[in-house]
């Protein structure tokens, strides 16, 4: 067991009782020290960098991160394990619960910026450039865009191959791997792992995003990397303005499939999944699991019907950003918004306020 990440199980899970569905195996990344797969890649980056710095010996390592989400928490958790100082700048919108979680690891948390980009700029321009470079060697942790992070994530694939072997599941039965795509860090790691086993051309990946941060899908449709101006999905862990260049490159090379799902559907899946597994998942994780509850979407993406003999691997990426209460509150709000959009008004003499009241009453 590595110091900074855990080997996690790949276990068969039955989502629906039917004879004709493919077999789903779930990779339980929620069991990482920080609750998400990010412990692999970010742990790898920090461990390798710190080891290198300590080998040289004249400076002390200090880790800097700018995510108030699972990446920041993964960095802070790895630093706690490795006994390294850690500073995390988080944007103002970060949930108090996540701020507390990151603080509890011993990291120094600074709240600054309206969103990630601003927090990141503040980190680089007002924190990192003020350190004493004679004494401290900084380790900057980007949430996803770093080859050492992808290398760390790729250990997922080695474990899955080993697990399938020990469970006597032939690799030829694997018809796809489903994973969520935010910036593409996890995806890049999976591709690199598959390449290592000469499987990148044999096992297609289905990359899932939520509508409102579907940068991957849009980039593939436009046939070039696209940047989103605004993120409008509630799946904040997937919410980045652009994917890494490597992600786009891999997707074209290996004909990766892209699926976009609605926020409201994903949250319902999260809550259904909690009922059937006792696990609380955030929307970013629910997005991948959603395809296990809706094999028609999966089959359409893969361009083939799946039988009970076929095996699909789903990366349950984990993540701690939502409690059940958060999910339920968000679901109510989304349903309200959806209903409000659907009610037409013929009588236009009503004021906006009256219309709003009538709409709410009809819910």
């Amino acid at each position: 067991m590595s110091v900074v990440y855990n080997k996690t199980p790949l276990l068969r899970k039955v989502f629906q009782n039917s004879q004709n569905l493919p077999q789903f195996f779930l990779k339980y990344e929620c069991l990482q020290p920080s609750g998400s797969f990010k412990s692999r890649g970010i742990g790898n980056l920090i461990l390798k960098s710190a080891t290198q710095i300590n080998k040289i010996g004249n400076k002390k390592p200090h880790v800097f991160a700018s995510s108030g989400g699972n990446a920041g928490f993964a960095a802070a958790t790895a630093c706690k394990t490795l006994n390294l100082p850690c500073t995390v700048v988080v944007p103002k919108a970060t949930k108090q619960r996540m701020v507390e979680k990151i603080k509890d690891t011993g990291a120094n948390v600074i709240i600054n910026g309206a969103h990630w980009k601003e927090a990141d700029i503040f980190l680089k321009n007002s924190i990192m450039n003020k350190i004493d470079n004679n004494l401290i060697e900084p380790i900057y942790v980007h949430p996803f865009d770093n080859p050492q992070i992808w290398e760390g994530h790729s250990t997922l694939v080695d474990e899955m191959i080993e697990s399938l072997e020990s469970q006597n599941v032939p690799l030829t039965k694997i018809k796809g791997i489903v994973c969520s795509v935010g910036g593409g860090g996890l995806y890049n790691g999976i591709i690199q792992g598959l390449e290592r086993f000469n499987l990148a051309n044999k096992i297609p990946i289905v990359g899932v995003e939520t509508k409102g941060c579907h940068v991957f899908n849009t980039s593939l449709k436009m046939n070039k990397p696209i940047q989103f101006e605004k993120i409008t999905s509630i799946a904040t862990s997937l919410g980045t303005a652009n994917i890494s260049d490597k992600t786009f490159e891999y997707a074209k090379k290996y004909n990766t499939k892209s699926v976009v799902v609605e926020d409201i559907d994903v949250i319902e899946t999260c809550l259904n999944y909690t009922q059937s597994s006792n696990m609380v998942t955030e929307p970013a994780c629910g997005a991948a699991i959603h395809l296990a509850y809706h094999t028609d979407i999966l089959e359409k993406a893969l361009g083939q019907k799946l039988s009970a003999d076929d095996v699909i691997l789903i990366i349950a990426c984990g993540g701690s950003s939502n409690t059940i209460s958060d999910l339920e509150t968000t679901l109510v709000r989304l349903k309200e918004e959806k209903s409000l959009k659907n009610i037409p008004f013929i009588n236009s003499t009503l004021t906006e306020g009256e219309k709003h009241t009538l709409r709410l009453k009809s819910l």
């Binding site: 068969r12 009782n17 929620c30 619960r97 909690t274 597994s277």
Partner: protein
Amino acid sequence: MTNQTNEIPVYNKTPLIREFLSTDPDSPQTYVKYETLQPGRSFKSRGIGTLIRSRVIETRRSGNKSIHVFSSSGGNAGYAAAVTCSRLSLPCTVVVPLTTKTHMVKKIRDVGAEVIVIGEHWKEADSHLTNEVIGKIDKEKTEAIYVHPFNDPTIWEGHSTIVDEIVESLNNDQVDISRVKGIVCSIGGGGLYNGIMTGLCRHNLADKIPVIAVETIGTDALSRSLKQDKMVTLDKITSIASSLGSVYVTQETFEFARKYATKSITLTDDEVLKTSLKYTDFSNYITEPACAAAIHLGFYPEITEKALGHRLDKDDIIIIIACGGSTCTYKDLETMATKS
């Protein structure tokens, strides 16, 4: 047919994960065995899965009778039996008392088992099962496999695989077993505990690694039995940890506990409920009170130290069996917390 039955897994190998539950930097290291990842969502899949499969193989070896599995648990045992039967394509009937939660009845039905709801409490449901259901089948044609929730040596044998896996995990990670200073597990009827003791004996560790057996006040049959130095049967269950709600522990549990100086701890419902909610926030896993009872000692290592009678340092390891269980939704936990 026999080959297929042999090949289909009825339980999963689960991970042993280090968790930093205590904020005290000098606290012992806690490793959690994640039994919630079983097909039936609790460790019961091991023992009950093993029991059903071995009886099926036996039956098929000796003739052509059809098989029907029976259980009288509306809890994790009944669900484990139903899930096992779903995997092995066997008919399953579960008779449950009227007190059984609706969502458990639905869950058990959803995996294909027949559920009959009858009786004020478990004993009545079990009587109905034995006399009116099993008693009425044609024994020439059908082999009835009755699954007790815990009191069966084959079940304990199945549960004992937990220890094989723990030893393997520690060896794989090059962790010296002599660092393990205790194993914490919850006690209901003692089935899990018997399995752990069987496994420890198999590895010659029963004398070396003490077990800390946790109950709640109101399900504390073992604690009272040990205090009175004789088997005690409770009048009734008065704790919310319904999965621990057996009025007695098995004879073997009592004997193991005396022979191997098992430490006995009792916690209040309040303590356990708080831990359930805290652990959900910490790990994103919803645990029922029976499971939280063991995890509680991870948050409060001083309780473990008191039970063992000595301090533990940060190189010592305590293994907690997170037994799993799906009888409580998060809403159930919140409702119980509001009432207390």
